[in-house]
Symmetry: C2
Subunit: 360 residues, 2 copies
Amino acid sequence: MPDDQKNLTIYKIAELSGVSVSTISRVINNSPYVSAKTKAHVTDIINKYHFSPSSVARAMNSNHTQTLGVIVSDITNPYFSELYLEIQRYAVDFGYSIILCNTFYGGSNHGVSDAIPEKTYFQMMLDKKVDGVLILGGEIDRDTISDSYKEALNRMGRQIPVVILGQSVPDCSCTFLNRNISGGISALIHHLLALGRRRIGFVGGEEGIRTTTARLAAFTQTLKNLAISFDPSLISLSNYYAPDGYRAMAKLLEQTETTPSAIICINDAVAQGAIRAIVDKGLRVPEDISVVSCDQFPSGEYTCPRLTTLDQQNSYLGRMSIMTLISAINHDSEGINISHEPHLIIRESCGARLGFQFER
Amino acid sequence: MPDDQKNLTIYKIAELSGVSVSTISRVINNSPYVSAKTKAHVTDIINKYHFSPSSVARAMNSNHTQTLGVIVSDITNPYFSELYLEIQRYAVDFGYSIILCNTFYGGSNHGVSDAIPEKTYFQMMLDKKVDGVLILGGEIDRDTISDSYKEALNRMGRQIPVVILGQSVPDCSCTFLNRNISGGISALIHHLLALGRRRIGFVGGEEGIRTTTARLAAFTQTLKNLAISFDPSLISLSNYYAPDGYRAMAKLLEQTETTPSAIICINDAVAQGAIRAIVDKGLRVPEDISVVSCDQFPSGEYTCPRLTTLDQQNSYLGRMSIMTLISAINHDSEGINISHEPHLIIRESCGARLGFQFER
DNA sequence: CTTTTTCATGGTATCGGTATCAAAGCCATT
DNA sequence: AATGGCTTTGATACCGATACCATGAAAAAG
């Protein structure tokens, strides 16, 4: 049986075919400078032995590896995994494979405590000679970025294309895709006001993280513009997961004197935790408190009650991220403007679809 | 400023240091055959220019890339992402990076239709010369495995270590970690019976997939052993996500004449969908129907009601998977026996923790 | 029928490291 | 001073592809 062997090289195929390595290379790369006869013969041998050229050797003198690095803080977070799905799809289409780097930064509740510094991954990306790096979240999302982090990031950015999904940081040798982080908050508030909710709280997210800071700023600003009194005891931050939402909501209910009539959560996981905390206090959603969220997760359509939330168009963001990176690698373009406007998904947790109209 | 440059090689460092490349290589690899003085000098230059050796060139003659391939069907599925987290953690500890391969096989509801054949990824893994491959799920989980798939899998298995988390398939040149797929079903049924539930249905999972087939078999077998009548109209399969749970549950409620008193779901996402379907029919969980699940997801603790479910010890499985693969690469051992017993987490959706005791 | 052009093929340097071998320098011993 | 052993260093083949140049054969042009 003409079986495949380990460590088949172009030299062995040349030997088996009775031609030179140059010819084998030509056949592999579909060069026109091979006779039909030779090509057919070599192709037969290649198929027979299931030969396929080593990407490592190819990378050696082409200086590109057809590999991309993707850095995320936590792939169990639906926000990141949804982005990843889209990225993976396009990467394969364009012939790239992806090295996924999970930094464990930002602490989910998964029992893993120590984060892997992004600097470690930056160096790894450089050593592995990936063709480009995509950063979806992590240390770059901090309000204040340390000099040493920035230095490491810039060192990488000077050597290979780096695309960052988030919001621009000054003096970075990277391409930024500016997410409209705070968009939609105003729509959320207006929707709640229209339902008769005026005492609105904000739950979840982490202090010092740009998403949280920006959304919180949009929250307070919108209230101010509408001349609605702002009560700091209605704000309770923690983190981005269901247990955090539970904890933050429970804390909010304890620290405030008057129960809020509505809560805006940083994302659907937090909203789920918050609802659970409200229910555990013997209150009802949406009858007593309306709960809405800023970032749609797939599960939000199946909770009790279903979540009113914002669609951040994550598939679109994922697609734009990978396309921008590939463009940067091919020097096709110099930065792409993305325009995504979060849009309101009205379901049950605000009360609207259940026909409630509240008075206060 | 002594700044770093692009494409720094060992040759340039040799030139800058005034020694030979051999010496640079020795310094990098901590060889004892370098004088302290030379070592210090070269180290200074390396640090000054931020030189780090190319992994590609190293792979060229060491024949290992310090890279692993991980193949999953859908990383947005918490089962896979939880496994991945553990795998990533240990991989980095042992100096490996991970190429993640998402096959889109098994259709979630994410709008992506066409799966990427695993064969495509197998070839990619071979070409990229990864040191080992870990398959967490996908085509291997089918009840019947096609010859062409098996052939491609075996070809890969003969060249590099391949570890598969699931259940053994005959005549495969891979190491299997046999998950106890059907374990815990019996515990679930006994728990429901103790609560007074006898008319038990099964919801979710996909026909022709081993997890589903095995759990369904354990389900019917346990009922048979207990001499409980088995009603095929109480079984409704679909897939592994919340929308599938919703759909399957709605269908079950339509197709059966007598409403079931309990439902066992394939996992927590499906359970969430099923609960939603039950509630939409105007029934209550757990008062009218108890709902339990076979596979714990983190969100299950924050649903309304909280889910009674089985802990499959996914962290343990992830850890064993990566450790087994690394052992196989190092020829340290020949297969590891894993012992994980799913254990029952009693919460609200069955009724037990809410103090219900049902009669029938 | 010779010369020129085109086509097909082979030989070899190269990418950036590591491994192996050879050799030079240094010190102590005889 | 010559010898031997140890430390330290340098030169070069090699890993598996591709790129470039050279060459031989066949076809077209003179």
